[in-house]
Amino acid sequence: MNEIAADRKKTGRTANIAAGKGRRRRLFYGNLELYLLLVPGILFLLLFKYTPLYGVVIAFQDFNIFDGISGSSWVGFEQFRKLVDSDEFLQVFRNTLLISLYKIVLLFPIPIVLALFLNEVSKMWFKRTIQTIVYLPHFLSWVIIAGLFVNILSPSAGLVNEIITALGGKPISFLIDNHWFRSVVVFTAGWKEVGWNAIIFIAAIAGIEQDQYEAAAIDGAGRIKQMIYVTLPGIAPTIVLMFVLRIGSLLDAGTEQILTMYNPVVYETGDVIGTYVYRIGLGKMDYSFSTAVGLFNSVVGFLLVIGGNFLSKKLVKRSIW
């Protein structure tokens, strides 16, 4: 009896699969037009995204532009050995981590506080004006931001140094001083994005149900207590998600930003992986080594994002994609 039942189940399943195949085929041929619409997009993807991905193999070669990928000799992990042994790379790696960590520790909490405070403002015109002002720098390119700060921090006639000298201090060349460069990078990054980054938290606060505040008020909680015991827990999942996302880009210490601000004098403190790849690759034409550094960067970044997504699913049951 049992055997027959099992057998029936089996044939039933194969029949299902066959029917499924037929259905899939019908779906495919019935919607050929739709697949046709995908062709330009896929061609774009293959040519401009996957061809460079294949090009990464030169990290395992001693690549020579005249011989191309097929003609250059393979050296295995030689470039990576060079990378691990390079003091210069270690310095760059250290700079990347330091700048990134400073940015996370000092800048990640500010948008949350900003959102909490904006939520306490009852005058709508005031709230809107502040938002309009603090969102603005987000829309400007790093070149413009660098232009603004080069002006302000200029040792000859910049506003900041005028104030320093008026107070009896000596002018500081912020952008060519290794003691100051990282601080300038962290500060300007905050100046540009802190306001904009508050948006996501403002939206999360708007999603908290009003009766939670009423209940807290009945229990005698004042506004500060409501902020700490209602609002903050209410947006905690968003905070965790944003934090995880932020960790995912740990190795991007702000390549574009630093490229617009730095110069050889501050390589010691300001050169990060992204700028180093550019400098070694296109400046010194050391294609293979530069690609190896880039690949290291991509792999670690990829692992961080995957790990972060896993964590965020575990902690707040929300996935990045």
Partner: protein, 292 residues
């Protein structure tokens, strides 16, 4: 209305003052650089200019925006932004449509192909070598074609299509409309707001890009505005080089002032469209995050 306690008032004062301080520190750099751009040469050079112009003049601004390299790079940027946004929108809006039909065989896999490129890319050198092979170095198309699809934008449009009711399409199909007609006559017109948002995303990223132009464009006549501005900001020499015009022109004009005026002149286009940018960008960020 409940009466405010002393603590409430103190908290309000603290919060309002703090927010004012944040807003002021955002505006301060603009005010200072703007004042430098429109102040007299002697005031700029001696470092007297603070938050308001001293010896107001518009010669420096005029000098900057009438200089040939500025006009040329401004036009390059406008061209790249217009062409790039139009082509990006066409390609992204069309590609997102079949991707929104998740029940079709193979679509899930193709979607993964797109998403993977968000997480992993070839890096600077393989991209550079590809552009070189395609003959795109010092060709303005290099600023458009390789950035045509942003996968993030694609995902936003796709999830919007998915939220549209199926019944619309089905009734159109009953009337014998093909997929193309459905997309262009029904889906796209219904997606107005999200398409406007994404178009602005694209436009701002084309306008603000300097990384790609730094990698692939070295010919001065092809430099977009951001790259031209970078030369001026990074390198005082290029400021003086740009100033080697008639002595008459240079009245009232100092390198510091020129630098400030170039920064301000490059900021103005964004300021002009800022009200739209703010409105649509906030929408876009929220759509993008709800989807997650």
């Amino acid at each position: 209305m409940k009466k405010k306690t002393f603590g409430d008032i103190a908290l309000d004062v603290f919060i309002y003052l703090l927010l004012l301080l944040v807003a002021a520190s955002t505006l301060l750099p603009f005010l200072n650089v703007f004042s430098k751009a429109v102040s007299a040469e002697w005031a700029v050079v001696s470092g007297k200019v603070g938050l308001y112009p001293i010896g107001f003049q518009l010669d420096t601004m005029k000098f900057v925006i009438t200089s040939n390299p500025f006009i040329r790079s401004f036009l390059v940027s406008v061209g790249v932004t217009v062409a790039g946004t139009a082509l990006s929108m066409l390609l992204t809006a069309v590609t997102a449509y079949p991707l929104s039909k998740r029940q079709l065989p193979g679509i899930g896999m193709i979607m993964l192909l797109f998403i993977f490129t968000m997480l992993f890319n070839g890096g600077i050198i393989p991209n550079y070598l590809l552009m070189k092979q395609l003959g795109l170095i010092n060709n303005l198309w290099v600023l458009v074609v390789p950035s045509l699809i942003s996968v993030f934008n694609l995902l936003v449009i796709k999830s919007y299509y998915e939220s549209l009711p199926d019944s619309l399409e089905e009734s159109a199909k009953m009337d014998g409309a093909c997929h193309f007609t459905v997309l262009f006559r029904i889906i796209l017109p219904l997606s107005g707001p999200v398409l406007a948002t994404i178009a602005l995303f694209y436009a701002v990223s084309y306008w603000n890009d300097f990384f790609n132009s730094m990698l692939y464009i070295s010919k001065p006549s092809l430099k977009p505005l951001q790259l031209y501005l970078r030369d001026i900001v990074m390198d005082a020499d290029s400021v003086s080089a740009g100033m080697s015009r008639s002595v008459e022109d240079r009245m009232n004009v100092s390198p510091e002032g020129v630098r400030a005026a170039t920064v301000i002149a490059s900021t103005i286009p964004i300021l002009l469209v800022y009200p739209y940018l703010q409105k649509y960008f906030i929408k876009g960020v929220l759509i993008g995050s709800v989807k997650g």
